[in-house]
């Protein structure tokens, strides 16, 4: 009896055979005509031919948390007070020491702004694939802020850091924090002429 049963299970199609059967959009024949188990498998495989594929990768948990909290961050409907930020430092505008030369002066830039009780420190680095930007906001509830660079909205991480990449550096940046919208002066990315 056991042997007979084992023989019956042996006749069930293996994955490769199920996939072959699923690949043919014909009526089910042979073993499939009589075996409901395999018919169900073939029928689903026809709709989803994913057998043998590796599972899709999981994104880092921090990314998922940040994306999950988008409604919380953007749910503020009240009008934000517009605050203009003042430029306090720009590495491209500061004079270099006599004799100091190097690529860093043109491929890296650091700009700092002040707006009321907030300080924004922006660093930009040109890489072969584009610009890598890192900004840090200091001030109350800075870790809940959102930085808007052009049409890109970047949420702050727990350390109040904003990180993003783009083909071109942003000319317009604003930061939404608390009930304020801090507007940074328009940025020019033309390298300063040597004098």
């Amino acid at each position: 009896m056991t042997d007979r049963r084992r023989k019956r299970t042996d006749r069930h199609l293996k994955r490769k055979e199920l996939l072959t059967a699923a690949g043919k959009d014909q009526e089910m024949t042979g073993h499939l005509r009589t075996c409901e188990d395999c018919r169900e498998a073939v029928s689903l495989l026809r709709a989803f031919r994913m057998a043998g594929r590796l599972a899709l990768p999981e994104p880092p948990a921090g990314w998922v948390t940040a994306a999950s909290e988008i409604p919380k961050r953007t749910g503020r409907t009240k009008t934000l007070a517009q605050v203009k930020a003042l430029l306090t430092f720009d590495s491209w505008l500061s004079p270099h020491l006599v004799g100091v030369r190097g690529l860093k002066t043109t491929t890296e830039r650091r700009i700092c702004f002040e707006a009321g009780a907030y300080l924004l420190d922006l660093r930009a680095e040109k890489r072969p694939e584009g610009w890598r930007m890192v900004a840090q906001l200091a001030g109350e509830k800075a870790d809940q802020a959102e930085l808007v660079a052009g049409r890109r909205v970047v949420p702050a991480d727990p350390g109040a850091l904003f990180q993003w990449s783009s083909a071109r550096p942003p000319s317009e940046i604003s930061v939404r924090v608390g009930d304020q919208n801090i507007k940074v002066p328009r940025l020019s990315w033309k390298r300063p002429r040597k004098t």
Binding site: T2, R5, R6, R8, T9, D10, H12, K14, R15, K16, C35, E36, D37, C38, E40, A41, S43, L44, L45, A47, F48, M50, A51, G52, R53, L54, A55, L56, P57, E58, P59, P60, W63, V64, A66, A67, S68, I70, P71, K72, T74, E129, G130, R132, R152, V153, V154, P155, Q163, W164, S165, S166, A167, R168
Partner: protein, 198 residues
């Protein structure tokens, strides 16, 4: 507020999101996080770039939530937007993904558009499988997603079942899976590109 968002179809979830139910949004992110991430990695983005595109895709979906006309096609919208954002990030917004150089044409790898469709379908299947109970998940995994094509005896031994009961168990699990796929609206076939996404 509905307690069981996991079993909601995308349309039902979307209705809850429009009603301002934040747990529904969280469920949607959970449901399609791997889809958006897999799209980013398939397109060859670095980890930092993928992080940008991942956030931007979800942000755009939330910002444009009132313009969504066809919530059944959210997964397709997410893939299209992630791809568009990836190309924008690379500074090639006008370039279609299917445009390949002559050298690449000899590459036997699947067509990118086709591969993204497969990724989208796989994400849906993974969502449905995650709603099965643990024994069924293990059976489906062993039969269909193990790298090697295992025999019934090997699968039965691994899972601790008698070989002659495994066929019926597999069938019951697949029927359950089919019901979940139906309830989530994933078994409705559509002609690609015929209906507006948003």
């Amino acid at each position: 507020m509905r307690p069981h968002y996991r079993s909601c179809s995308d349309s039902e979830l979307w209705t809850a999101i429009l009603a301002g139910e934040q747990p529904a949004w969280r469920e949607l992110v959970q449901r399609y996080k791997s889809l958006v991430y897999a799209t980013c990695t398939y397109l060859g983005l670095s980890q930092a770039e993928a992080g940008d595109v991942f956030q931007q895709t979800w942000m755009l979906l939330y910002q444009r939530r009132h313009q969504v006309r066809n919530p059944d096609r959210l997964s397709a919208w997410l893939v299209t937007t992630a791809r568009r954002e990836a190309l924008h990030l690379k500074g090639r917004p006008g370039r279609a993904l299917s445009e390949r150089s002559p050298v690449e044409l000899t590459d036997p790898a699947p067509d990118p558009e086709q591969e993204l469709l497969i990724i989208e379908k796989q994400a849906k299947l993974e969502v449905a499988i995650s709603q099965l109970d643990k024994p069924c998940q293990a059976i489906v995994q062993a039969f269909f997603f193990e790298p090697e094509d295992l025999s019934y005896e090997e699968i039965a031994r691994r899972l601790g079942y008698a070989p002659n009961t495994l066929g019926a168990k597999r069938r019951r699990c697949l029927i359950r899976l089919r019901k979940i796929l139906e309830s989530l609206g994933y078994l409705t076939e559509r002609k690609p590109g015929r209906e507006p996404l948003i």
